[in-house]
Amino acid sequence: MSNDINRLLANPVSFLADAGPNEDIAISSRIRLARNLAGHRFPVSADSDELHGICEEVAHAAITSGALGCPECFSFDPENMDELDRELLLERRLASRDFLNRSAGTRLLVRSDESSSVMINEEDHLRIQTMVPGLQLESAWRVIDDLDNQLATRLSYAFDDRLGYLTCCPTNVGTGMRASVMLHLPGLVLTGQIAPTIQGINKLNLAVRGIGGEGTDNRGNLFQVSNQSTLGESEAQILERLNTVIGQLVAHEKSARQLLLQRDQFSLLDHVGRSYGTLRHSYKLSSEEAINCLSGVRVGVDLGMFSALDIHTVNELFIGTGAAHLQKSAGRILNAVERDVSRAALCREKLKL
């Protein structure tokens, strides 16, 4: 397993490193499906024996159906992993905090390119996930729909004619689908339009969260927009609704950047330049400062200010500067100061022009 973690660390994170449509503003698209096995209690009420049985049944289904490229997929048992390795899975968005905190019968299966994964015994028996770069929810849907069908050939899902897929929390019942897009919205933040925009999106029954999971968290100017309702619409209808709103958000962000360029060009250029200067010449960088400066440099790349700098290098630093990634790369536990020093060294190195 520790070998799997090291192989994972050596992987470029495909949803950040590869090109995707509208990638200047939409960083990545993710779809998750919640599924449960018929005849079993949900993880919240199942005992350890039942959880282990479910875990084996799902893992066996993945291997025999060839889902996720198994048996060549990565397989992790969080209960037997050390804290640092578990944090690494969290930073790579392969596992949720809730999943890692569970004590028994959990397993994470990951396709070797990390584009798809299955958390076994999170809140539901299966949380299937697909992530792709840029704004391409339809393409993510095709991948996850196939994966779900593949697993369903070996598993009997809990399904009701009227309510659809039955989930532990009634807020996920129906399609069991949560689709989300990670957006970089510095224009809307700098022009002060982000708060009314979030309010408007919330009224459309969609959720907006910062990268820390809260709507008020502006760190890195990164926001995740996702559907809230999972019942009463088909998957295609939900994705279309989300796509339409995100298309409008992308257009608003572009207008906001144009407005900034027209109204106060030098302030924007100064913001980008200072962000780059901080990352390129600092010797100690906190996580928050790094992420905010990376956002500034990303704007500069979009504006064509850094012809030698690739946007995917900046994207990868959003994850590479995470505490667990820095410590795994160093091969040892680092204290807070050592992490800040190590983060600064990584940014200086990666952002050389």
Partner: protein, 184 residues
């Protein structure tokens, strides 16, 4: 224990009422409780159970009974033994797939409030063939709720689209004999 109303199904919902020091217990199956809830008989017991569950589902803010009430509601899932107290303790989460039937009267209203409809319109496992008539009837009911809501909000353009869909569904149902499979 059998349901007091239909005397056929197992009672999974037990309601205790106290009037002038006397206790009266009703034991109901999920179907009869749903019927009573639909007729407003359960809501009259002092607090809206569905609203409470909805609040639970929406993340754990537990709505307290609105007035001092001596009504005690207990529902137990016959499959996993999950209780309303556990639903509350675990932020609206259920114990097993059968809890949806056991807590049906509570869930129906809550689900309508949380979601954009009360009927599944998405994919289904390939091993479970769709009963076309049930699906059409379900969507028709769903669209009627939607139309009411749209008219209340004075969103007439969307209401017109919804009305057209209702007419289309009625026409499809007219052509589809009972039990006949068909696509939505």
């Amino acid at each position: 224990m059998l349901c007091d109303v239909c005397k056929k199904n197992e009672a999974t919902i037990h309601i205790k009422e106290m009037h002038g020091g006397e206790t009266h217990t009703s034991n109901l199956c999920a179907g009869c409780a749903a019927e009573k809830e639909k007729n407003g008989e359960l809501s009259a017991l002092g607090f809206n159970l569905a609203e409470m569950l909805c609040n639970l589902g929406k993340i754990s803010s537990v709505a307290k009974p609105t007035r001092e009430s001596s009504t005690e509601f207990t529902a137990v899932c016959p499959k996993c033994g999950w209780t309303l107290q556990k639903v509350r303790a675990f932020g609206g989460r259920l114990g097993c797939p059968d809890c949806y039937a056991a807590f049906a009267p509570l869930l129906s209203e809550a689900i309508r409030n949380v979601h954009r409809g009360s009927v599944h319109l998405g994919k289904r496992p390939q091993s479970m063939p769709q009963d076309g008539r049930t699906a059409l009837e379900a969507e028709l009911e769903n669209r009627r709720h939607e139309l009411d809501a749209l008219v209340k909000r004075e969103e007439y353009e969307d209401a017109a689209i919804c009305r057209d869909r209702i007419n289309q569904l009625k026409a499809q149902l007219g052509k589809c004999s009972p039990g006949e499979a068909g696509n939505e």
